[in-house]
Each structure stands twice: as C-alpha cells, then as structure tokens.
C-alpha cells in the first residue's frame, strides 16, 4: 500500500473501526466534526510571499551605496540600529525588530523554472524521475490536520508547484483572484434543493457501495463529504474578503498582492497551515529601477500590515513569513534596452524570514563590496529549506517513500540550518 493514497486501506479501516460502516454524507459530517473537536494540536503555520522573477538584492535588502553599480536607490535606517534597507520600504523599516535578513543566499540555479522548482522543493527538477513536493505540500503533510475542513495548503498565485509524490490530498487549493475566493464553493441551487440532490446522490452511493465495496467508491464518497463540509463550514467564510472593512484593505495597499496577503492572514487565523502569495514582475532585465520601486511599495504596505496584524493577534510567533524569489540579480547594470536593467544572479542574493519565533532584528551573511559573491555565512537552498523546516518544527531529515517505493528525505543530505535564528 502506498503511503500517501487519498484514502489508504489503513485509513479506511480506522474509519470503519470508528463505527462508520454504512455510507452517509450526513454521518460522515458528524464524524468529521467530532474529530475536529478532539485534537487541537498547536502547530506553527507559514506564509510564503513568492517574488516571481527574482528580486534585485542590491535594490532591496543588500544595498551597496557608493559603489559603481549601486543603482539609484538610497539606504534608510531601520528600527534596529546598524541595519539599513532600501528607501522604498519605509513601513517595513519600522518593524525590523521582527525581521531577519539573509544576505548570503548562494544557490547556483539561474533559470527561472529550474530555480523556482529548486527553491520550492530543495531538489533539481527531474532528479531521479520524481516530481518532488513543494514546501506548502510538505507543511500540509507534516502539520496539517486531516479532518480540517479547508485544504491545509492554499496558493494565492498563478504559478504554484504542487504536491508531487505526496499526492492529491496535499495539492494546493489555488485561488487566482483573492476577490473571487475559491471557485465553485457555492452550490448553484438553493440550500434545500442542494440537500435534496445530496439525498438522491446518497441513494445511488449506497446501492453502488453495497454491491462493489471498492476503496475507489469510498474515496469518492470521502472527497464529496469533505467538499460538502467545506461548503457548509464557517471556515469557508475566511475566503470572503468583502467581510473586511475598506480601511483594512487600504492598509494592505489595495492591490491584488495586498488582498492576497490579507486573505492569507484570514486563512491562517482559521487554521490553514500554509499560504503562498505570489507577486510577479521582478524579472527586471529592463527598466529595473522604476519597476523595483513600484513592486517594493506593494510589498512594503502588504508585508508591514501583515506583520502588524499577526503581531496584534498574537499569531506572529507561531507564523513564519518568508519573503523570497528564485534568485537575485546581477551586481552589474546592463544597458541593452532603453532603460537599464539587471539580469539573473544566483551566487549572492537575499531573502527575509519574519516571525515564527525566530530572533528578528538581525542580518545573517554578507556579500562583497559589489554584492557579487558571499563572503560570510553562505546559505544554500538546502540550508534555507532545512532552516524553514526547523523553525516550523518539522524534522527535515525525515524520509518519505514515493509511491514507487523510493526513499527520499524531506531535505537532501548536506543541509546546515542557520542556528543564529533559532
């Protein structure tokens, strides 16, 4: 039996042992509610702010004032003495006590898709003929509660990597537009008629299951029960952004990315374990400075509001926020286009970690005068993912087994988590 089957024989037996021998959607819902009430394990959660395209480290969090290719932006001081960041993050600068800047990222993959895969999974795409689970699916598998009515991994992003060999239960629920929420969440007929339909469906399911007693029918039924549960759950209201006052949405910036961060906060509040919010446009081969300025402003509003809200709700210590892209950008400024740009650079770049109980207000790692190479505390993709896992309480050395029986560790050998943060 494979480990991650949607409904393994073992789970099936557990459910039948719990007294569910017949099949009834209403009966299922009672059991799910019961299980939900039983164990409320306190676990950490994670929000990944994915900066698609690769943000320029020298124009955001690792400025090199006074050097030849420093660029147009000025550094500003922050709430932590000695830490300076770009002038286009004025709100975030005031919250620097919560933030750790990792300036020593050195990952060596400079192609967008390969790097996106690498930074999400810790493995090279295609390695060993396996599709590896992305971080959200790993967190869903390790920290998610099986009886939770919402999926444990929600992606508010057009470009998202899935569960790979961990299977469909840990696939992200994708929300393309935070204002529209989850697709098909509402029945297309009135409630009482929907219930009538379910009763008809129940009739068919009973008959089929009585005759065939197959795990596939059981699995189909479970998925429907969980989907109906989601439709009826109070948690599903978390997807409805219209319940937030306009002033709050404004504070997050009023942009799609800001709305995504606000939705992420609402989902974390009801117990979702991993939310990925994407912001594209960082691939600034041309017109680097105006574009980075504009994107920085979006991030500044949304991220600072997110930190403040989580802090105010007492959730910041249990929620890790990651700000990262797939790589950084060249120290050199190109002049190929009409407006100067920067190209892909994976040998030295920056990410942010915030909350989750880490020691904030520090900079880890250091690049040379040009921001071209790491001179202190280099951080590989493996080091980074092992650090994230450790912060979240996940044993990154744990070994999974793929459906084909191949053992694979959550993070491959050779990882060295960043102790200074913990």
């Amino acid at each position: 039996m494979r480990d991650f089957a949607p409904l393994s024989r073992r789970e099936f037996c557990q459910l039948t042992a719990a007294g569910i021998t017949g099949l009834s959607l209403s009966g299922w819902l009672d059991i799910l509610a019961l299980r939900a009430a039983q164990g409320q394990l306190k676990h950490k959660a994670c929000i990944l702010l994915w900066m698609d395209g690769g943000p320029s480290h020298k124009d955001t969090f690792d400025l090199k004032p006074g050097t030849r290719y420093a660029g147009e932006f000025k550094p500003i001081s922050t709430s932590v003495p000695g830490i300076q960041i770009s002038e286009h993050f004025p709100k975030l600068a005031k919250l620097m006590q919560h933030v750790a800047i990792l300036r020593g990222m050195n990952t060596g993959v400079s192609d967008h898709n390969r790097a996106r895969y690498y930074m999400h999974t810790g493995y090279r795409e295609g390695q060993g003929g396996v599709i590896h689970p992305s971080l959200g699916s790993i967190v869903s598998h390790e920290l998610g509660r099986p009886e939770f009515p919402l999926p444990n991994f929600v992606a508010i992003s057009a470009r998202v990597l899935g569960a790979g060999y961990l299977g469909p239960r840990h696939e992200p629920l994708v929300v393309l537009d935070p204002n529209r929420g989850v697709e098909n969440l509402r029945a297309s007929v009135a409630d009482d008629r929907f219930n009538d339909r379910i009763s008809l469906l129940e009739e068919l399911e009973q008959g089929f299951y009585r005759t065939y007693r197959t795990p596939a029918a059981q699995a189909h039924h479970t998925m429907y029960a969980r989907a109906v549960e989601l439709m009826r759950s109070k948690e599903a209201k978390a997807f409805d952004l219209s319940q937030e006052p306009a002033s709050v949405r404004q504070r997050y910036g009023g942009t799609r990315f800001g709305d995504g961060c606000l939705l992420a906060r609402r989902l974390i509040e009801v117990g979702v374990k991993f939310v990925e919010v994407g912001l594209g446009g960082w691939d600034t081969h041309q017109n680097n400075f105006p574009r980075v300025r504009e994107l920085s402003a979006q991030v500044d509003s949304a991220l600072s509001a997110l930190i403040e809200d989580l802090h105010q709700r007492g959730l910041l210590d249990s929620t890790l926020i990651i700000w990262m892209g797939e790589f950084g950008r060249t120290p050199h400024i190109n002049n190929r286009g009409p407006q100067p740009g920067r190209d892909h650079w994976s040998r030295a770049w920056s990410t942010l970690l915030i909350g989750g109980g880490i020691k904030g207000g520090q900079v880890i790692g250091k690049t040379d005068a040009e921001g071209a190479t790491v001179v202190e505390r280099p951080i590989s993709a493996l080091d980074f993912l092992a650090t994230v896992c450790t912060i979240l309480g996940i044993d990154y050395t744990k070994q999974y087994t793929t459906p084909r029986g191949r053992p694979i560790r959550i993070v491959d050998r050779g990882a060295n988590p960043i102790k200074e943060l913990l």
Partner: protein, 534 residues
C-alpha cells in the same frame, strides 16, 4: 523467519528433497522463460486458442491457491467497461440500449470488433501515450502536443505494428511540423530524461537509479546506464521555449558526431554505446546511432520489448500488470503468472506486434470479462485477476464522458479557458491537467481531491441542462421511460427497481418539473458509478 518456519515444517530428508526438486524445477522454468531464444520461431496461434490458454493459466493458478474467481460480468458491466477501456468513451443511451437488448449469442465479441474499428480507439490510445511520452514539466510548457496526438491517433487506427511506431518515435528527425514523432525527443531534452523514458516505456526497466549509483535492486550498473544513454548522444534538439516565442516549429537532428551539450548531469560518464544487457555494436564514427538502437530494441528476439509491451497493455485493461510496477521488470520482481507473460509476449511477436490483436485477445478472455462484484466480503487481490477491479476513469475519460453527457459543442472544448494552468491549453487539456494526479501513482487509486468534487458539484458544466437530460425529456413518453433514458445516457444501464421507485417518487412529488429531473441528472453525474469503470 522464513528459515525457521521451513525448518519446523520440513520434517524428513525426503520432504526436503521434494522441496529442492520443486525449487529446481521453478528455477529452470524461470531461466527458460527469460532466455530470448525461447521466443524466436514461435508460430502464431489463432486468437481463440491464445484466449483459451490465457484463461487456463489463470484458472489453474487460482485453483491451486483455492481462490474462487468472480462470475461473468453482467452485460451492463461489460458494456461500459469495454467502451471505456477500448475507446475511452462511454456509450450513448442508444448504443447502451441496443447492446443490452440484443439477443445475439456473440454480441460481446462483436462489440469488441466494433470498438476496435471505431476512430475513438486510436484517439484513446493516443491520449494514453501522449501522457506517457511527454512529461508535464516546466520545460514542456510551450511544447505543442496536438501534432503528436494526431500522428499517434492515425498510427493506432491504421494498426501500424508497435515495433514500427516505436522505431518512428526513436529515430525521428525534422521539425515538429514535418514529423510530429520528434515531439518525443523534444519533450525529453536531457540525456538522462530520454534514457529513463525509453527504458521505462519500451523496455519495462527502471534504469534511473543507476544514473548516479549502481542500481540497489537489480544488476544494472552505472556504466550500463551511461553506455545505453550514449545512443542518444548525437541527438540535437531545438529549445522548445525559444521556438514557441519565435513562432517556429522546433526540430530534432542526429549529428554525425557527439552533440555538444550543456547541463549534463554530474554523474555523466562518456562511454561507447552498448545495448542494455547486450553487446557493444561495431559502429563507424559518423554512423547515426538511433536507428541501430531501434533495430535492436524492436527485434523479435529483444528480451524486453515484447514483454514490456504486453505487460503495459495488460495493466491498462486490468488496472494491474502481470509485473508491477509495469516498468520495473527484473529478476527479483517476477510476474505473477510467468507462463502467461511468456505466452502473450511470444504470440505478440508472432502476430507481428499487432496491437489490435493484443487488445482483442485480452478483452475476449474470461479474465477480462469477469464481474467486478466481489465474491466474498472484500474485493479480491487485483494482482491475481480473480475479479475485475473497479478503476477510476482517467482525466481524459472523465472529460469526454462529461462532454458527452452534458453536451459540449466542439467550440467549447477547443476554446481557451478564461483561467487555467497555462496559456495555450484548450479546455480539455486544462481539465486533464487539473484532474491529473501523480504520474507514478497507482491506477486503481482514486486521485481526485476537494477542488475536483467542488467542480463536479457546483460548476456550470454539471448544472446546465445537459444533452442527455434534454434527450430523455424529449424521448420519454412516460416518466418511467424518461428515467430509463437518463440512466442509460449517464450510467449506461437502466435503474434498479429500488432506484426506479425512489427517483420516480422524487420527480412525482415535484410535479415532474424540469428542475426535479435536473436534480436526478445532477445526482447521476456526481455518483461514484459515473466516475468509475466497474
């Protein structure tokens, strides 16, 4: 543990000798069955005879294990199963009624012939093979698969021998526009990718572990891997992403020398080409390598090709291969019925790699036509073929079944989705991607998740006035008849007495309103029975 148990059981020397004799006989059989020479010069037997032998082998083994096989499937079970397995589609209400009401003695064999002759046969196998030949990874996101699909459809429908189709795939050169078969090499750009794929799909061997280290479970060594990979070292492929952006048709060429390549895996070893488990061919330096490989691979005495093929085809129809996983055939993972695999492989070669012959043979067996109703309390072990397992539809089958029942017109199926995984996919491709699970997953596992259930319950697709509903309302001269046509159109059967009473009551209480009928239609589409092949 095994030793202890045997130690207690084997009381006398005589018994021990008997055991050793049996072991010796089994070893001899296994050795004999794995020698390539055993299958050369086998004569083609008539199909009925092969069918009988297949069933005799399975029944003999089941009897020896004291397992009672399930009875013959009902016409309803067989009808929908044969349609889905051979053509990928469900029967229309008329087709279902015609078959169920037919009194012809050999109507099952006739249906099989009719389905093999249908253009949907080629389309269905092309669907399956595009999925296998083109991995869904980011490098292929702009690669068009439609030309390959159309090409494969034609090959399967013309019943071109599998050895020739595979040769065409393995040796293809030119642009995608000129020769759609190049899509296979375009979709597997890395030297390791194409090596792994060829081994898995055509040789039934998982060589990928040997890429970086000697294989832990088989005899394959790292040198075997890179010597086999060397057959692909002269292949030069265009970058499909760049071609898509420039609007050109990407192509594949075989150079007279080793192609310069970037991104070689770290474990790469430059070795001269050598057949897997075979000889090192004498080659001139400028000789194209792929035709040499294809000739070896598709030769009647190749030790892997025919077995890998019949095993994969068997698994497609039974949800389980004679060896599982289907592409992991090696000494320590023997077939459940070795003589059955040998028989089918030898006869497949003797019948000139005729795929329709293979499908005809498999689907005419009692084994294939057994009921999926369990004999005992629980469904039987699917690897023994005592009972047909219930298989979830593939995403492509589900889309086509929905399209048929709901009545998509062609324009909708070809239209680009408003939102979807990637630009450039039509609605059908987007649906297939959305409903696809892991590539290596068990075909008998139900893979759908909550978003899928939400989509099937609440999307406009299943809430519209579907074509089957419209037809049933137009045709049915009584509520009973309307209900019959609804069941026939969606589930390919008529309702049971209990269902008839319950559903007629439901619509009667609601004055036979259209809304009430659409509730029935909705329940049928959302049922397990609709998404499963029983």
């Amino acid at each position: 543990m095994l030793g202890k148990r045997w130690g207690r059981r084997v009381k006398s020397i005589a018994a021990l000798w008997a055991v050793l004799a049996v072991v010796g006989w089994v070893v001899a059989q296994v050795n004999q069955s794995s020698t390539p020479s055993a299958k050369v010069s086998v004569q083609a037997l008539p199909t009925e005879q092969v069918v009988q032998q297949v069933d005799a082998i399975i029944l003999k083994h089941l009897a020896a294990q004291n397992i009672r096989p399930a009875g013959l499937s009902s016409d309803e079970e067989f009808l929908r199963r044969a349609y889905l397995d051979i053509t990928g589609k469900i029967p229309t209400a008329e087709q279902a009624a015609a078959f169920l009401d037919s009194r012809e003695a050999n109507k099952r064999a006739q249906l099989i012939e009719q389905l093999l002759a249908s253009p949907d046969y080629g389309r269905h196998f092309a669907d399956e093979w595009v999925r296998l030949l083109v991995p869904r990874d980011s490098q292929n996101r702009l690669l068009r698969t439609q030309p390959l699909f159309d090409w494969l459809t034609e090959q399967f429908n013309q019943n071109r021998p599998w050895s020739e189709i595979v040769t065409a795939l393995l040796t293809a050169t030119g642009t995608q526009q000129e020769n759609p078969a190049v899509t296979y090499f375009l979709a597997n750009q890395g030297l390791d990718q194409i090596t792994n794929s060829v081994c898995k799909l055509f040789l039934g061997n998982q060589l990928q572990c040997a890429q970086c280290h000697n294989h832990p479970f088989t005899n394959w060594k790292q040198n075997d891997y890179w010597a086999f990979a060397a057959f692909f070292a002269k292949v030069q492929r265009d970058n499909t992403l760049a071609a898509a952006k420039q609007g050109t048709s990407p192509g594949v060429r075989e150079l007279p020398r080793i192609a310069l390549r970037r991104n070689l895996p770290e474990s790469y070893k430059a070795l001269p080409p050598k057949f897997l488990g075979g000889a090192q061919p004498q080659l001139r330096a400028s000789e194209p390598l792929r035709p040499v490989l294809a000739k070896w691979l598709t030769a009647p005495d190749n030790p892997y090709f025919a077995k890998a093929t019949v095993n994969r085809w068997w698994a497609k129809f039974f949800g389980r291969g004679l060896v599982n996983p289907v592409d992991d055939m090696h000494e320590d993972n023997p077939p459940v019925y070795p003589e059955l695999l040998d028989l089918l492989a030898q006869q497949f070669v003797a019948h000139q790699f005729d795929l329709k012959w293979l499908v005809r043979t498999i689907t005419n067996t009692q084994a294939y036509q057994r009921s999926s109703k369990p004999v005992g309390e629980q469904p039987a072990d699917p690897t023994l073929f005592a009972q047909m397992p219930v298989k979830p539809m593939t995403p492509a089958q589900l889309f086509d079944a929905l399209a048929q029942v709901v009545g998509f017109n062609r324009n909708l199926a070809a239209r680009k989705p408003a939102i979807g995984p990637k630009p450039g996919f039509n609605v059908r491709e987007a649906f297939i991607i959305a409903f696809s699970g892991d590539e290596g997953a068990d075909p008998l596992d139900y893979q759908a998740g909550i978003p899928h259930a939400l989509r099937l319950m609440n999307s406009p697709m299943t809430n519209a006035d579907g074509i089957v509903l419209q037809d049933a309302l137009r045709r049915g001269e009584s509520p009973e008849e309307t209900l019959d046509w609804l069941f026939l159109g969606v589930l390919s059967r008529r309702p049971s007495a209990q269902e008839r009473e319950r559903f007629l009551n439901y619509v009667a209480q609601r004055q036979y309103s259209r809304a009430a009928w659409s509730d029935v239609f909705w329940a049928l589409i959302n049922s397990s029975e609709f998404v499963l092949t029983r």
